[in-house]
Symmetry: C2
Subunit: 371 residues, 2 copies
């Protein structure tokens, strides 16, 4: 019997042709396309095409797929009414679990279809944005068909057609976050799909995992940290004090990467283009101080910047409030979830590991009988 560490670290679940995470060298590619190739060149819709069908579209953005996502993002009246069930004012990530669940219906049956995958990708941003608007007493906005998938999401949240640079920055963020191999949310989804359950049940499970701060739930704390640091000059002292209190530095370290997270490098470039210069200086100072302090104190851990650090700076710069950082991550990741559900269903087997039983030996006698 094979054994493993507690977190299934280094245990191979199986094969996947979706995403290569090269943790030692800092590489990330979707179906053979490096993230450094995709971020400057691809559209989010093009990446959806790549993830779902295995090949890039003939032209990017892909005309037919973009049109289909545009149509599917419109929430029919009956569905919008159903979503109103979720009480306003919840943390968006909490609300999102119920919104996604209510998106389901008996038609979403196993196996997941491409149409269902596109529906999940297209409607998740809309139902999230409509919920956020409703929570602050604002009506849903009319669809703007000229806007692409990501720009339209940002438009719905901010109420304004976003400047091209901001829309593109968020689109690049979403491309980078669209998939990441066998992370905890994708793993939860694949387990659900492995029982021949439906895509919505899988996506709801994935969202529940993403909600945990150890997976997707902490990027807003990077922004809190930058606030707390305040000025570039304060970074070193602040970092030393935090580490002295045994606090984890937000935005550093990722189990998969033993060098810089390639997304962190790209997000830093984007942040340099669109972030407030003062904010950027604080972030860069915290980066320098954090990397130096961690290499001094825990060199064996090889902790580098992760995707959350400059991800938070970018999301802030495009105008998103902190409570929408992780929900936006989820919106981006729906593409990966749909693609993993499809891949899992194509060669499916129930995922069910063993555990080592460490409790009392069998044969104990029950103390008393019910009356």
């Amino acid at each position: 019997m094979a054994t493993s560490g507690k977190g299934l670290e280094h245990v191979v679940l199986g094969d996947s042709s979706l995403t290569l995470v090269a943790g030692e060298t800092g590489g990330l590619s979707y179906r053979g396309f490096d993230i450094g190739e995709l971020v400057p060149r691809a559209s989010y819709e093009g990446v959806v095409h790549l993830l779902l069908w295995g090949e890039p579209p003939a032209r990017d953005p892909p005309e037919r797929l973009s049109a289909e996502l545009r149509e599917r993002r419109i929430v029919p009246h009956a569905l919008a009414r159903r979503m109103e069930a979720v009480p306003p004012g919840l943390p968006p990530l909490e609300a999102m679990r119920s919104l996604l669940s209510l998106l389901g219906s008996p038609e979403w049956r196993y196996p997941p279809t491409d149409e269902q995958g596109l529906d999940l990708i297209a409607k998740t941003p809309t139902i999230l944005a409509q919920y956020v608007r409703r929570s602050s007493g604002r009506a849903p906005l009319p669809d703007r068909p000229e806007l692409g998938h990501v720009a339209h999401f940002l438009y719905q949240l901010t109420g304004e057609v976003p400047p091209a640079a901001k829309a593109r920055a968020l689109e690049q963020y979403c491309i980078m976050l669209a998939d990441h191999g066998m992370n905890a949310s994708t793993f939860a989804l694949r387990i659900v799909i492995s029982t021949q359950s439906d895509l919505i049940s899988g996506a709801v499970a994935a969202l529940g995992a993403l909600k945990g701060p150890a997976h997707g739930g902490a990027p807003s704390k990077v922004a809190d940290m930058l606030d707390a640091v305040g000025t570039p000059e304060n970074a070193e002292r602040w970092v030393e004090a935090a580490l002295g209190r045994k606090e984890r530095l937000m935005g550093f370290g990722h189990r998969a990467y033993k060098t810089e997270d390639p997304r962190a490098v790209l997000l830093k470039q984007i942040a340099k283009e669109i972030a407030d210069p003062e904010r950027l200086r604080v972030a860069e100072a915290v980066e320098r101080a954090g990397v130096a302090a961690l290499q001094r104190k825990r060199p064996e851990a090889r902790l580098f910047l992760n995707v959350e650090f400059y991800g938070a700076v970018v999301l802030e710069a495009v105008g998103l409030p902190r409570e929408l950082f992780t929900p936006t991550f989820a919106v981006a990741r729906t593409a990966g979830w749909a693609a993993h559900a499809k891949e899992q269903s194509q060669d499916n087997r129930l995922i069910r590991p063993d555990v080592r039983y460490t409790g009392p030996a069998p044969g104990r006698g029950w103390p008393a009988s019910p009356a």
Copy 2:
């Protein structure tokens, strides 16, 4: 790097002191108490005590815990109103995912507490029963404090205080189904909790996995099969014909057991006490024909009766419609989910396996740039 089969078969996730599934010998015990000891002697509340706190109660049923579950099962008006968001008439298992999600709120934060666990166990049957009643235009029933956890669930569903024999039969079913080691739903829940997400998110993920027919979604098909067989005399011919069509026999086979599932043995005894005698004869004839045919045709597979076979006969005999078979399984399993969430949180580490990348090599060039 350790490797494993596609379904993580024989991979050890870690330690657990909850449940020992002895697949080769057909043993099942919770914290050292064999299922054959618990089923005749314990109350469901006593088993909840055992699973959550590791020891049996001093007296069974446990007075204080029973009172607490009784109080917590009452759904406050505001919560009942929230649940009305879920449209009536859905398959109960589909509805249940949204009902459970809506039971959540920002107060359900990590780590899971005993109070949250008890709330999940107590309220799940009530919100399910109230949904089922609402779907058929019936008002929720007033609470009957004299009824224990399982009897009260049955009362709410049927509208009548159940005869003692039926209530006890369902209670014994729920004791047997309360936990089962690292099954797919519990595994999905533990992954969600491993990200430091909340208990409701974990339970919703678990429910999504249970929804799949390869895990919890097929017991109603056993009843359909018994209908199709019709008479004991028809069993052998029907089984041969089904196997000739390469169909899976419903209620046979379980990945964990290479001999008879101990729950199947106990459920057969219960079925003999409460099931309609004619129905029982059909079931026994299908059992005989199925076991004989499978041992002849696939002796290497060692396929025996599983929990679903006589489970379906018992659930039918206590008066539950087929669409409530798997939801009732879920109601029983909430005890295990709460206990596993607690255990996971007590020594937590993010669960994140690897995959073997089998796609194209990195370095491909993207065909075209966005406008």
